[in-house]
């Protein structure tokens, strides 16, 4: 049967649309398109709503207020004054956070690895004690631990008047004080000599090591390196006139100690709180990483006559690290983010200072956005570094 030309075309078009609507590829793409559009509309609506409400109250989304005088003083960190602008105080808080996080990561790693190895120790007492520590710290909230550490332990130490003196170290609830080396005349010359000695020592160590690997002769790389790195600065200290470094002792002056180095109760509180909490998780990761290395590896190492320490250092840990690094990254990120609990123990970290800034200025949206951005960048940097380490430790497969 012959249909007129235009109606045939119309029918074909109809069939085309029908076919299109039954095509799963098209339907999936359509669903995705609709979803993306909905998300965009929602975002537009939320931002528009926020902007309208802020406009209605005469508030904008500008960051210009950060240049205004802050009129407050940050209690700890690089010196700050009430005449400094908000952005400077923000920086003070950021540096405080970076201090806690960097020292915290280092200490948590050390404590975590030691505890993880100890959990597999054949010594019953050590193993049980470490297990008790890990279970206790993993299963209680961090904030509670922080309060306990700060209010329950650190602040119950005696005040400055009845301070505990422990050799050159002074312990009180106003902080831990210790002598500090202060550079004197002749320090630059001594420092330069020491630096050169260090470089040369490191070079010698590498060279001797290479020779040993190549020829098998005992060249004593560690001895030569150590002799240069320690011996030369010591010799220079004796030969050079005067003392390049002198110890400055803390002294009580009026209401506070002056001189020396000080660890404030707040910094100690947040730092050790984070370290012990995170190390408990790291310990378990390390333990599981070690157990993940096949038993045959240990047996082979023992058959070759390696000692227990050598087996751990040269055979087990390098292989365990591949299993350990990815979950470790999570713990590092947790530590960095948990550092925002510092306000609970009065440590002026990024979060604490930001809170003061948005209270003084009233610009909550901007300050919180800025803070989120800063924490995000910090976390991304930690992740990136850990990813590089992870990539380098992977077995190269062919």
């Amino acid at each position: 049967m012959d249909l007129p030309h235009d109606s045939a075309a119309r029918l074909r078009k109809k069939q085309d649309i029908g076919a299109l609507l039954r095509d799963t590829r098209f339907l999936q793409a359509l669903a995705q398109a609709v979803f993306v559009l909905l998300v965009l509309l929602l975002a537009r609506w939320l931002i528009g709503n926020l902007n309208d409400n802020l406009q209605a109250r005469g508030l904008g989304l500008s960051f210009a207020f950060m240049r205004r005088t802050s009129s407050f003083v940050v209690g700890e960190g690089i010196p700050s004054d009430r005449t400094d602008p908000f952005y400077y105080q923000y920086l003070v808080g950021l540096i405080n956070t970076v201090r806690v996080v960097s020292v915290g990561l280092l200490l948590a790693t050390i404590v975590g690895i030691l505890a993880g190895v100890a959990m597999l120790s054949p010594n019953w007492l050590l193993r049980t004690l470490v297990q008790a520590y890990v279970e206790l710290f993993r299963n209680t909230p961090l904030l509670v631990q922080l309060f306990f550490l700060y209010f329950g332990i650190i602040l119950t130490l005696p005040g400055l008047a009845d301070r505990i003196t422990f050799g050159p170290i002074i312990i009180s609830n106003r902080g831990f004080f210790m002598p500090r080396p202060v550079p004197h005349v002749g320090f630059p010359a001594w420092a330069a000599i020491s630096a050169l000695a260090f470089l040369f020592g490191a070079y010698t160590y590498r060279r001797q090591l290479q020779i040993r690997v190549r020829t098998g002769a005992e060249t004593r790389p560690a001895l030569w390196g150590a002799a240069l790195i320690i011996g030369v600065p010591l010799l220079a200290w004796i030969i050079l006139p005067g003392q390049p470094l002198q110890l400055e002792l803390p002294e009580l002056q009026g209401l506070r100690m002056t001189g020396g180095a000080r660890l404030t109760p707040e910094f100690a509180g947040i730092l050790f709180g984070l370290v012990f909490y995170t190390a408990a998780f790291i310990a378990d990761i390390v333990r599981s990483g070690i157990l993940a290395v096949t038993h045959g590896q240990r047996e082979a190492a023992m058959a070759l006559g390696l000692t227990a320490t050598q087996t751990l250092r040269l055979i087990i840990l390098p292989q365990a690290l591949r299993v350990i690094i990815p979950p470790m990254t999570n713990q590092y990120l947790n530590l960095a983010k948990n550092s925002s609990l510092a306000i609970g123990v009065a440590f002026p970290d990024l979060y604490s200072v930001s809170q003061t800034i948005f209270n003084q200025s009233g610009q909550a949206v901007q300050v919180i956005a800025l803070m989120m951005g800063t924490y995000l960048i910090m976390s991304l940097i930690i992740s990136a570094v850990m990813n590089v380490i992870n990539a380098r430790l992977q077995i190269v497969e062919r």
């Binding site: 793409a29 359509l30 995705q32 398109a33 609709v34 993306v36 559009l37 965009l40 409400n53 802020l54 209605a56 109250r57 005469g58 508030l59 009129s71 407050f72 003083v73 940050v74 209690g75 009430r82 209010f151 602040l155 119950t156 005040g159 609830n173 106003r174 002056q253 009026g254 209401l255 506070r256 109760p265 707040e266 306000i343 609970g344 009065a346 002026p348 604490s352 809170q355 003061t356 948005f358 209270n359 003084q360 200025s361 009233g362 909550a364």
Partner: protein, 376 residues
């Protein structure tokens, strides 16, 4: 992959164009209804008298929203003894709370028609800005910055406070000038931090601050001698002092570091709502001035004339101008009493015992600053 992406992208584009086409541009139409009734009376002496009573429909949008909801949302303190706290039964009690009740009574004739939102120093202004609450009565200091920049409006001051410093008796401090090198505990998110910096830098004294998030934490740190002084509004210091392990060992220094006028706050943009809150507070002050109390208000209202009559609704139409009942102040005073009664109940000898006689918080007729414009 890229083809598929292009496909998705084109579909998004097509869909968004379709939706854009469906949305006509909306012109902004502002409708304002003003009913003007003009009555012209021609008198035989050829003089023309013109009376122009103008009836504005000026109902507050927020008042309407509150009436529709059936409750007043009030932002309050939940842990400051005397001003706003939870009693053992879990009820909100305090000086500030009674002003919430007063406003609720003015609208609903029910002091319990209040939805309390406990707020911290950091969330209170945001709660107003985001319309989470109708009015904020929570020891909030009226400052230029907050008033002009943050989109909030301030009602009459209900309590004149000032920042003080609490120290241990055995420290030997008798004034701020003695406190060189001291460590001071302070709360974040308050004007206190700024006042402290101002007070110490103007005296050229070195000091260290410890900034806490919660009042309980800063009090605990002070109690454990981590800091030499604790600074806060004097009214709050009296409350904190009572909770320390040995209250008698502590003293509050005589200096006042700042002016802290505290009162109700609301979001800018609804003048009529502001008028309502403002005049409920003024009404309570006038009531004290006139000796109208919780006990005698009904008796006085029966035959009241003059300002008392206008206040209690027997003369004039003051209630309806605010969108309220004519006798709303009778209900308010019946529910919470006058300003003096509220003060005595929470801050007087039975409460936290903040001396009123001779302070700024006494009535203006007795030399204080509590003063209300005339009700006419």
């Amino acid at each position: 992959m890229s083809r598929r992406f292009r496909f998705v992208f084109m579909s998004v584009l097509a869909l968004s164009m379709l939706i854009a086409a469906c949305q006509p541009a909306e012109p902004v139409i502002v409708t304002q209804e003003v009913v003007v009734t003009q009555e012209v009376q021609v008198v035989t002496t050829q003089e023309v008298q013109v009376q122009v009573p103008v009836e504005f429909t000026m109902e507050s949008a927020r008042l309407q929203a509150v009436k529709d909801r059936g409750t007043l949302r009030c932002g309050v303190n939940s842990g400051v003894l005397g001003f706003g706290y939870l009693d053992p039964a879990g009820e909100y009690v305090g000086f500030d709370i009674d002003f919430c009740k007063a406003v609720a009574t003015a609208i609903f004739n029910d002091p319990d028609a209040v939805e309390y939102t406990p707020l911290t120093t950091t969330t209170r202004i945001t709660a107003l800005q985001t319309n989470e609450i109708d009015v904020l009565i929570r020891n909030t200091t009226w400052t230029f910055g907050r008033d002009v920049e943050l989109g909030t409006d301030y009602g009459p001051t209900t309590f004149y406070d000032g920042q003080g410093m609490m120290v241990r008796e055995d420290s030997g401090f008798t004034s701020l000038d003695d406190m060189d090198g001291a460590t001071i505990c302070v709360l974040t998110g308050t004007t206190t931090e700024q006042n402290l910096a101002d007070a110490f830098s103007s005296r050229g004294i070195a000091y260290e601050t410890l900034t806490f998030d919660k009042s309980e934490e800063s009090a605990a740190a002070y109690d454990q001698e981590r800091c030499d002084g604790l600074t806060s509004d004097k009214s709050q210091l009296t409350g904190i002092k009572g909770n320390l392990s040995n209250p008698a060992d502590h003293a509050i220094l005589p200096e006042i570091m700042s002016k802290e006028p505290l009162g109700p706050v609301w979001a800018q943009g609804d003048q009529q709502w502001g008028d309502l809150v403002r005049w409920v507070v003024y009404g309570l002050i006038i009531a004290e001035e006139k000796g109208i109390t919780q006990a005698n208000v009904e008796q006085i209202a029966a035959g009241a004339t003059g300002e008392t009559g206008r206040l209690l609704g027997s003369e004039g139409e003051f209630g309806s101008l605010l969108g309220l009942d004519a006798d709303f102040m009778v209900n308010v005073i019946k529910a919470v009493g006058n300003y003096g009664e509220i003060y005595d109940r929470h801050l007087g000898p039975e409460g936290t015992n903040i001396v009123r006689t001779g302070s700024y918080n006494d009535l203006w007729t007795r030399g204080g600053l509590i003063y209300a414009p005339p009700w006419r």
